[in-house]
Amino acid sequence: MASRWRAALFLCLLMVAYSLANEAPAHETTESPNHEDTSTGNETSTGSHDDGHGDSHGDGHGAPITTLPIVTWKWHHVTAPYFVALWVLVSWLCKLVIEANHHVTTYIPESALLICFGFILGGMIWGADKVQTFSLTPTTFFFYLLPQVILDAGYAMPNKLFFTNMGAILVYAIIGTCWNAATLGLSLWGCHQGGAMGDIDIGLLQYLLFGSLMAAVDPVAVIAVFEQVHVNEVLFILVFGESLLNDGVTVVLFNVFDAFVSLGGGAIDAKEIVKGIVSFFVVAFGGSLIGFVFGLLVALLTRCTKNIQIIEPGFIFVLGYLSYLTAEMLSLSAILSILFCGMCCQKYINANMAETSVETVRYAMKVFANGSETIIFVFLGISAIDKVIWVWNTGFILLTLLFILVYRFIGVFLLTWILNKFRLVPIDFVDQVIMGYGGLRGAVAYGLAVLLDETKIKEKNLMVCTTLIVVYFTVIFQGLTMKPLVQWLRVKRAAHVDLMLIEKVQNKVFEHALIAIEDISGQIGHNYLMDKWKKFEEKWMSWILMKPSARKQQDRLFTVFHQLNLKDAMQYVNEGERRGSLEFIRNESAFVDFKKKFGKEFSDAMPDIMADMDDDEDGASSMRRDPVPSVSLEMHEQNMRGLRGAEEMNSHHLLEQHLYKGRKQHRHKFSRSQFGINQDEDEVQEIFQRTMRNRLESFKSGKMGVAPPKTITKHAKREDQQKMPNGKHKGYQSGDEDFEFSEGNSASGYDASFPVRPSYIAGAGIVNPAFMPDLEDWSPVHIPPWLADAELEEDPVAPSERAQVRLPWMRGHLHRLSSLRSSTRSEEQPGRRDQLPPPPPPPRPDREEDRL
């Protein structure tokens, strides 16, 4: 039966109307309990009519049982959670459908598409029921959907960026929001007085109330849109931070005005107004304080959860939610509370908890936030299809839209103008335009509008309807045009696009130089306070809130070192597993088996490890020097004309991809749908590591100008890797005479792996002339036919550089190495040519020598 229901729901998704007619009249079940009653009753009747199981679905307490039922139909028993789960599923399926095609989402923001899906779903429900049974209720939204979105925002907040721009964010969030609310309310009122609205019953206070609920830029909408247009991080944090904080502000404003409306115009005197202002600050700061306290609590808790690591990640969610509810209970700003809770605890819990727990928190946070964001948008769409709320008043609606847009721009320009007088880095005009245009309204406004009390405000439905229209307009239209606008403004800024290669490099150098200079000269002013805070933080907060072990690991160098080690280990394991297992570490004779089973892969890997080892000795990486036709210089000279175009593209692409980014170019770290170590982080670490190595080397070698070994940090780690090839090498020498019968009789891994050796020796030989003599000794060895083939087939284009990234041991290298090797041999041993594959394109040993 359950499957039948599921099938029915699936049909619902497929817009089959009759199945809809049967099952749709259920209520959104996360609504308040009194609604639930009706919905359950509703459902019961439909259920019985639907499938004629009236007797069994009575759940026992209806009709007296005459016999023991084997299976009973208890639909209404599960109705509420069932519908919740189903709606979650349906919303997420919408997202799945949308994201299935990336072409669409590059042009149309996901949020807009989700809303459109909501329209469709809502239309289906409407078509079935003739009444909107599902809609986004304030309770659902504020208690079950919003908290995790905000918590995620807080937890993933780039704190440093946020606090460096704190002043501006606060100005926009507080003054900007008040400005928006006041101007919108007053202007609408003015227009009303002027007679633009026709005959509606809204007073000044109600206009102001409406203004306050419309004032806030919505974080959910903003993140959804701005995530897809990659703006600079300062702009992002300004818009994003503002949208987060002003949610708190707007809720406070809303409550204050709501109270005023309840009091009625006559009862408001100066005292009440002062009280309103005071309550505004108390609510906002009180909420933040609660969040702060809860954040510290989480941090403290995670200090001592060593023995219950399994539920460790749960604490942040539970306490975060508690901070939200606590603030709500004290009628403080819940949004600010949970936001600050997330922001405060992130550092400490990340340090305190086990790595797996941190990962879990991150992931779960994203699942919750992204999931509820999806649901919010879908339901925003669904809510629209409801005849009850659609009260059209052209004047009111259009004027609201107009004023919102206009006052947002005016507010941004005005405030920025003031801020720029104090900011060290002024916000330029383009950014201001984007900020103004990014004033998207969203679910918070809608939630607040629905919260309006119809007994006090006659035109509630008009307001809800207007709010919805504003939300749709901003999210869909502005969201849609945001990207083109950003691009268009960008294009204007950077007129010449095709830079020369050298220019690109130079720009980068200069950029880095600027950053370095900034670092050297120090950014005084901000840093003073920051320093003080840092000291205090290190001395007290960390001491109290962090595990002693975690404190130790605070050392940057250590973290980097640790992470690099981890990464290396992972690669090592991966590589080993690619070849079969890591057993060869413990037992070298395991090679025998490898050879037989995975002969090819194994032989591939060996020489590369060898060559990789060479890396360490040689300064510049040896294997990277072997010529790949397409990029090699000689080839380049030979048919420069032909290749030039493609190659240039290639090089530009390379530069584009791999030039280290300057600090300013780093993208904002917050992203709803992606997380994890972003690449920039990697880059920083890489640079850091290199610099440290260089310093160490220059420290060692004095100013001798000796080319130092390339990897010092990695040396230790490579030790075991080296052991292996070394061991092999020795083994090979000792087993020299046995060569001829190696494969068959020997159980020792050394001999069995013989056919492999030549290629790796050859690989080493390319770079290191010291190995050359060996080559001659090795001449009788067979070139494995697969190598010969592979070398012919090999793509002339260099293997994708990403593929080579961290895995120096790559097939491609081997082939190249082997090709060189075979040609060398062919010269030396012409007699064996018949057995050899056709010689590869001539290598360029002379070049190689040059580079040494």
Binding site: H496, R556, A620, R690, V805
Partner: protein
Amino acid sequence: MFLISVSAAHLLRLYERFQFLDKDNRGHLRPEDFEAVLELSENPIGDRIVEAFFKPGQETVDFPSFVRVLAHFRPTEKNRNRDKGQPDPANSRTRKLKFAFRLYDRDRDGKISRAELLQVLREMLGMQVTEEQLQSIAERAIQEADLDKDGAISFDEFRKVGPLELGSAFILLTVRHLNDEVSSLSYWRSG
């Protein structure tokens, strides 16, 4: 006598910074002092920048020289009516380019050789770029800029291909006080 116009407030700030960097109060900075700036180690060419503060053969840099180097990074001023006879101010385009040029030209022979460029590239590009790719990039870059075909980039060639807009994002010394460049360094020294 220095022809750097920096406001007194900026100088004061810089002096504080100088003292901050100069941990042992020696009155001059050594390379180690710079290396204590943590962010520099995250900068691929950080060491080159540090090097640029030191004249060849010198191990230390005093405050005036410190400021003189930093002054390269002030925004280039437009419509500056300067006397013909005077040398370029440090923040002129030419001087900025010269500074950048020296970042490449480590052996100070007035040319960026292929090896020098390669070295810069090696530092600037991720580890994942292979050596032969680096080489080809270097080769191409040289070809682009090398007008006289001598296989190296001279300063004249360098400035021709230089970026049109030189970064002037030097936060500390920029922005608001463009107009109140009252004091020069010499003034500060005498005062």
